[in-house]
């Protein structure tokens, strides 16, 4: 029973017993167990990553009315493993004039920026990984390392397409970081803590119902941060061939690709944690830690599916439109929403919970309506300036 509730502690105690039997000092045994825990987590994540390749290809094929990989194994499940073997035996090329050290470091950093996000992911009530009290900021800090890896890859490849791709991608990531961080502060206001675990535990009502607008803006900013379509300006295969990772081949390209997929899944997970209660589901999470992990992964997969749905449905937006959309629409709306939420939170501090939730929800809906109306007014005025006043249809 204990194993079902808190498998990590049971396993750690068991290992500690074994190591103590070997005459190892407790300090070293603790360090070794911590390293083993990290190793197991990363190994499982990489295994999941292999499956994500298959899931992504299967889902995109359904969106595009195709069948997808179906030759190798049942439902094409062996296809990703065949892909990995191909990537591993492919020639590993380095372009002439490339900066070798940075060129080789970039894919590692790109993967690392995703994996370190899992350090603060609360998987179950008893498996919090690291319960960092500034977890929300930590997520943004990990994103900064991702931006760094892209600039590194783009510059060190000695290729103008990759450099242009890296510039565009970095510009998008730097600007969309701002609404994303602002939207992460809204669950922080509700929960009274920046810790990701505390935010999960405080969600008796899913924060999606308190701040639907925040959830939507967070998803949009996260998709831009991931560099996925419609914000995939850094790759833009029709104009930049493949963007920042153009010169990479073999497993180094595989690292970028796998990092992108795992990143999307991870942000599906954080979306679920910040706005959909994470591992919580009507008390089911208390039954077993494994059930809690399954709930979190189910929610994360729904988030990942929505990200894929958007990616394979929408067209790419032009870079200036993308940046204007962020700076002239998303950022002001995010700041207004943050101020409104903080104000409403203080106003409704003593109100009963139905009033609190209702007031928050209504303020979000009103703000979304006002933002859309303002955007519509300005875009109509802009159009009239360009085209001259004309009625589209007789009224």
């Amino acid at each position: 029973m204990d194993f079902l509730k808190d498998p990590l502690k049971v396993a750690a105690d068991w290992l500690l017993g074994i190591f103590a039997g070997w005459g190892m000092a407790e300090l070293w045994a603790d360090i070794l167990i911590a390293f083993l825990g990290i190793f197991v987590l990363i190994a499982l994540l990489m295994l999941l990553d292999i499956l994500l390749v298959w899931i992504e290809r299967k889902v995109v094929s359904r969106f595009q009315s195709r069948i997808g990989p179906n030759r190798l194994g049942p439902f094409g499940l062996i296809q990703p493993f065949a892909d990995i073997i191909k990537l591993l035996i492919k020639e590993d090329t380095t372009p002439e004039g490339a900066d070798r050290a940075l060129y080789n470091l970039a894919p590692i950093l790109s993967m690392m920026a995703v994996l370190i996000l899992w350090a603060v992911m609360p998987l179950a009530p008893t498996i919090l990984n690291v319960d960092l009290n500034v977890g929300v900021l930590y997520i943004i800090a990990a994103g900064a390392i991702g931006t760094l890896s892209i600039i590194m890859a783009g510059w060190s490849s000695n290729n103008k397409y990759s450099l242009i791709g890296a510039f565009r991608e970095a510009a998008v990531m730097l600007s969309f970081e701002i609404p994303m961080l602002t939207m992460m502060l809204i669950p922080t206001i509700f929960a009274g803590s920046m810790g990701v675990a505390a935010i999960t535990q405080a969600q008796d009502v899913w924060y999606f119902f308190l701040a639907p607008l925040a959830a939507v803006i967070f998803l949009v900013a996260a998709i831009a941060e991931l560099g996925r379509s419609p914000f995939d300006m850094g790759e833009a295969e029709s104009e930049l061939v493949s963007g920042y990772n153009i010169e990479y081949s073999g497993m180094k390209f595989g690292m970028f690709y796998a990092g992108e997929l795992l990143h999307a899944f991870t942000f599906g997970g954080f979306w679920a944690i910040l706005f959909f209660g994470g591992y919580r589901f009507f008390g089911l999470e208390q039954v077993s830690a494994f059930l809690a992990i399954a709930i979190l992964f189910f929610k994360a997969f729904i988030g990942y599916w929505i990200i894929m749905w958007i990616k394979y449905t929408l067209l790419r937006i032009r870079i200036d439109h993308m940046l204007a959309f962020n700076w002239k629409f998303l950022t002001p709306v995010a700041f207004t929403l943050l101020m409104t939420t903080a104000f409403m939170n203080a106003l409704l501090a003593d109100a009963p919970s139905w009033l609190y939730v209702g007031g928050m929800f209504l303020s979000n809906v009103l703000l979304a309506w006002a933002a859309l109306e303002t955007a519509r007014y300005y875009s109509r005025r802009e159009r009239e300036k360009v085209e001259g006043t004309q009625k589209v249809a007789p009224t």
Binding site: L27, L102, L132, N133, V134, I145, F167, A170, L174
Partner: protein, 169 residues
């Protein structure tokens, strides 16, 4: 030596090495990346001092924004991104003197301070550094005035930047 001390020494040495490479490397983009390594080392030292908020902010602000701005500026202003110009200008003697005087002065101040040899008291397990910092920043007894002045300065800088960049038709 405790584990903390070993980690501190290793990180401090790496930080110093990276900082040295910033000024000795011939390639200016490499200098920017070494600067990032040095700033990251400082973040780790903040983390070792239980200042998790400062550590994370160090990464977000310095690596995520300022260092990235350096790299952008270098990449957008240089015609040849691998140029190797002279690393010293005629004023290097004066600069070295200034650096030596500043270092000596800091050493003197730190030596005269009694806090150097004292052992820090252990942080209580329920101590919440983030809320303590947040309360200090908005409490009138603590740092609300410097905080507000800094905010006004930043807003002024922001408005100034917009004004300078604004394209008047």
């Amino acid at each position: 030596m405790t584990v903390d001390q070993v980690i501190f020494l290793a990180v401090a040495l790496l930080t110093l090495f990276a900082a040295l490479r910033v000024v000795t490397t011939g390639n200016i983009v490499h200098a920017a990346f070494w600067l990032i390594a040095a700033l990251f080392g400082v973040a780790v030292i903040f983390a070792l001092l239980n200042a998790s908020f400062l550590a994370v902010v160090q990464v977000v602000v310095y690596i995520g924004a300022i260092a990235m701005l350096f790299i952008f500026a270098v990449m957008l202003t240089r015609k040849e991104m691998r140029d190797r110009g002279p690393q010293l200008n005629p004023n290097w003697r004066f600069g070295a003197l200034l650096a030596a005087v500043a270092f000596g002065g800091l050493l003197l101040i730190v030596n005269g301070w009694s806090g150097v040899t004292k052992t820090a008291s252990a942080v209580p397990s329920d101590f919440d550094a983030v809320s303590a910092l947040g309360n200090a920043l908005v409490s009138p007894d603590a740092y609300v005035l410097p905080f507000e002045v800094a905010s006004v300065l930043l807003v002024a800088a922001l408005i100034g930047a917009v004004y300078v960049a604004f394209n008047q038709k």
